[in-house]
Symmetry: D3
C-alpha cells in the first residue's frame, strides 16, 4: 500500500520504462511521506490496436488528430 | 474520464477487437453524453490458462460446462 | 469472463447507471457472441476531486477547458 | 508484488472481510512461496446497483436466477 | 492514454490528494513526453479494514510492524 | 461477481499458476459462501522490468534487499 498501476502503450525504451517507475514512486514518496517499501508500481502495456481514445484505435495513422474529436460529427 | 477496461480471453480476430472498442465507446457516449475525447477504452487479454471461472481453468476442454458449477459437489 | 470495469465520475442518475451497465453488456454480447452469463460489468465511481485529466482536478470549475491542454504552456 | 484485488458486493460482516483478506493472502503465500511482506490484498466493494452479471443489475430481486441466463431469449 | 490508477488508504488531506494527482501527472508528462491531455490519473481510496499487507489488516494498531513480516513465524 | 485479479511476476510453472487460481477461488468460496460459478479469477503477469517495489526495478539483482528500503537514505 499504495499501489500505482500505469496502463500505457508499449514502451520500447527500457531506460524510460525504468525511469518512469522510479520517478512515479519518488513522487508518491515525496508528496505523501509513505515509506518507500510500501509503494508498488507497475506498468500494463497495451498494444495500440487494443486501445481506443474517442473510439479511435491507437494504431490509426490519424490517431493524434481523430482521438481528440468530441463527437462523431466533428473532428476537433 | 471515463475509462473502460475490458479483461477477456485473447481475441484472434483483429477486426472484432477494434469493433468491440469502437462499439463500447459509442455505447458509453450515447448513454451518458460524455464527450468522445474523454472516453478511453482498452483490452487486457488474458491467456485461457491464466483465467478461472468457478475454479475451472479456461483451457480446460470442459470449461463451458464445468465453469458453471455452483459448488464442488455438482457440475451444473 | 469477460469483465468490463468502468471508472467514471459519480452517476447521480440511477436509471442512467443501470442503463449503462445493461447497454455495455449488450454491446459486448452482440459483438463477441460470448454467452450473457459470462459477462460481468461494474462501475467504479470516482469523486471529481480524486480524478485529474491533464493534471487538472475534476472539481476545477474550468475542468472542461483546462483538462484539454496539451502542455503546461498552452491551454488548448 | 504480488497484488490481489478483489471486486465484490459490499461485505456487511467486518469479520468476514478481514478473514477473506487474511485467507487469500495465506493461500497466495502457501502456493507460491512469496514472502508475506510482498503480498498486498484489498477489497473494492461495489454497490449491487453498480454491478451487472449477464446485464442483470445486482439489486434486481431475481438476480440469482436471471443473472445466469445465456442469452436474451432464455432465462436459464 | 495513459491512465494512472492509484490505490491507497483514504486521504483526509484534500490538498495532498490534489497535489498527488497533479504531481504524478507532471512526472508522467516529463518522463515520457506524452501530451498532457492524454494523461488521466485517479485515486481509489481503500478503507484500512479492507486492505492487508502480509495478511495484516490496515486497521491493526501494529500494522506498521507486523505488515513487514516475511512469514507467519517471524514478525520482522 | 466477485472478481479476483492477481498482478504478479511471470509464473513459469504452469501447474503453479493453475493451482493458484484454483486455490484462491476455493478460499473465496469457503470464506464467503458465494456460489462457485459467480467467482472469476485471473492473473496479470508483469515482467520484472515493468515492476518496482520501493522504486527498485524487479530485474535488479539486489531487488530482494533493496526493495525493502524505507527511504532513499537507508537500505534496511
Amino acid at each position: 500500500m499504495p499501489v500505482i498501476q500505469i496502463s500505457t502503450f508499449k514502451m520500447a525504451d527500457e531506460a524510460k520504462a525504468k525511469e518512469l517507475l522510479q520517478e512515479l514512486t519518488a513522487t508518491m514518496h515525496r508528496v505523501t511521506g509513505v515509506p518507500l517499501d510500501k509503494i508498488s508500481a507497475f506498468l500494463t502495456e497495451v498494444e495500440p490496436n487494443r486501445w481506443a481514445d474517442a473510439g479511435v484505435i491507437g494504431s490509426d495513422p490519424e490517431f493524434q488528430v481523430k482521438s481528440r474529436r468530441r463527437s462523431y460529427k466533428v473532428t476537433t
